[in-house]
């Protein structure tokens, strides 16, 4: 497992331009595989257009207590990019003027931002009802100052969405680091104790599964059944839904695909699994991604590739709904990750 981010290692692939070049060269340049643009054009779905904003996904910083093998953010303890309260205030000012109903907080470990709680409390005051926090679970057990996070989540009725690559220790720790499985189990039990994830409970607890290697996720419903059975039998843990997410070929996962000589086969798998029905509901059509420094992107992946929104408005402080709605979504070959099989989004399958 990696102990440093690609950025800290000075890796060639920490450069987003280099990643985009790779994704456009080789099998896509020589016509062996169709580019994403050509593929969606076949079903007259190019250009992809943004609909009305529903979800504001805010990346409050790339710092994380874990260094997961396939992290698309290249997050880790050595990443210092962190959102300031000033940027958060700009986001709050925008939320008041939009119909966005969901604030989706991600990172890094979003809870590590020193203003994380302030941000949630202020957003709550101005009427945001649907909060999602993408929690890595282990943060809850990482330091005493985070021990009361489950209570904080409960107080604000935050929807907790957590990564859990497998129901066995071996596969989980391989992907997310030594000891992650046991800490995650403990955190899930604590969330269950507060009512999170229990049948009929309003405190929503969902898990995210993403494959541990160069293969696509299986059927979400079948995986959910297996996860529920194993976690209940082994640890008496309950949760609501499992979201099966496809790994997108960017950042650390791209680095892994190339190093393990799986890149071409993986791209073939993605293109073969292309589902035009999934294109209709890709998350970029109703979501805006805000980076730690307030810039706007079509999704968290485009943020990591430094592909800004195709609009005059580039920063949250200049937000104008009429200039962003209907914009053309910026695409490249990584987008195949969201249209494979039943489709993939931060909310699970889309088709």
């Amino acid at each position: 497992m990696a102990i440093k981010s690609l950025k800290k290692q000075g890796s060639d692939l920490s450069n987003s331009k280099r990643q985009l070049e790779l994704l456009s060269n080789g099998i896509f340049a020589n016509g062996e595989l169709p580019t994403f643009k050509n593929k969606i054009s076949e079903s007259n779905q190019f250009p992809l257009k943004a609909k009305t904003l529903e979800i504001l996904q805010v990346n409050v910083g790339y710092m994380c207590n874990q260094v997961c093998e396939h992290c698309h953010v290249d997050a880790g303890p050595d990443r210092k990019e962190i959102m300031t309260r000033e940027t958060m205030q700009q986001i709050l000012d925008v939320i008041k003027t939009t119909g966005a109903h969901t604030l989706d907080l991600t990172g890094g470990a979003p809870e590590m931002n020193p203003d994380f709680r302030w941000f949630v409390e202020e957003a709550s005051k101005i009427g945001i009802k649907d909060f999602i926090v993408r929690s890595n679970l282990t943060i809850i057990r990482a330091n005493k100052k985070f021990y009361d996070l489950p209570d904080f989540f409960k107080k604000h009725n935050i929807h907790v969405v957590s990564s859990m690559p497998h129901w066995t220790r071996g596969k989980t720790d391989k992907q997310r680091g030594e000891g992650v499985f046991d800490m995650s189990i403990k955190a899930l039990q604590e969330l269950n104790e507060r009512g999170y994830g229990m049948p009929d409970s309003n405190l929503k607890l969902d898990l995210v599964y993403n494959p541990s290697g160069a293969f696509l996720p299986g059927d979400q419903a079948a995986m959910e059944k297996d996860f529920k059975k194993a976690l209940l039998e082994d640890f008496n843990i309950q949760f609501h839904n499992l979201f099966a997410i496809t790994n997108l070929p960017i950042s650390r996962f791209l680095d892994y695909l190339i190093a393990s000589e799986n890149y071409e086969d993986y791209m073939y798998s993605l293109v073969e699994a292309y589902n035009p029905a999934a294109v209709k509901n890709v998350m970029c059509t109703n979501t805006l991604s805000v980076s730690w420094d307030g810039y706007l992107y079509d999704c968290d992946f485009n943020q990591m590739l430094e592909l800004p929104v195709n609009s005059k408005v580039k920063h949250i402080s200049q937000y104008k709904q009429e200039l962003l709605e209907g914009r053309n979504i910026v695409i490249s070959q990584h987008c195949y990750g969201c249209t494979a099989g039943a489709g993939s989004s931060c909310q699970g399958v889309v088709a």
Partner: protein, 111 residues
Amino acid sequence: MSNTYYDPADLKKFGKISEWNQDLGDKFFEYYGKVFEEGALSAREKSLIALAVAHTEQCPYCIDAYTKDGLQRGITKEEMMEALHVGAAIKSGATLVHGVQMMNKVNKLDG
């Protein structure tokens, strides 16, 4: 022509067998798809059976395909290896159970 008998890239071309006999090819793939659907056995159980049989049949294409299929279904490497031992046990058992025939013959000829 490739100068080896097996080329991993050929697996992707499996569907092409229909080009030289559309009717039988279509029927085969329809049957194949149906076999692996969720039924009295789960698709997961069928995947493990396929993996074990892929090994007893020593089909490299099938081994690649059902190892990947298993990973996609969240099947662990421990489960995969156990499934292989089931196949291996039947293969070795099938060899050794013929030992009774040998013993019968010895007893008849030289008993």
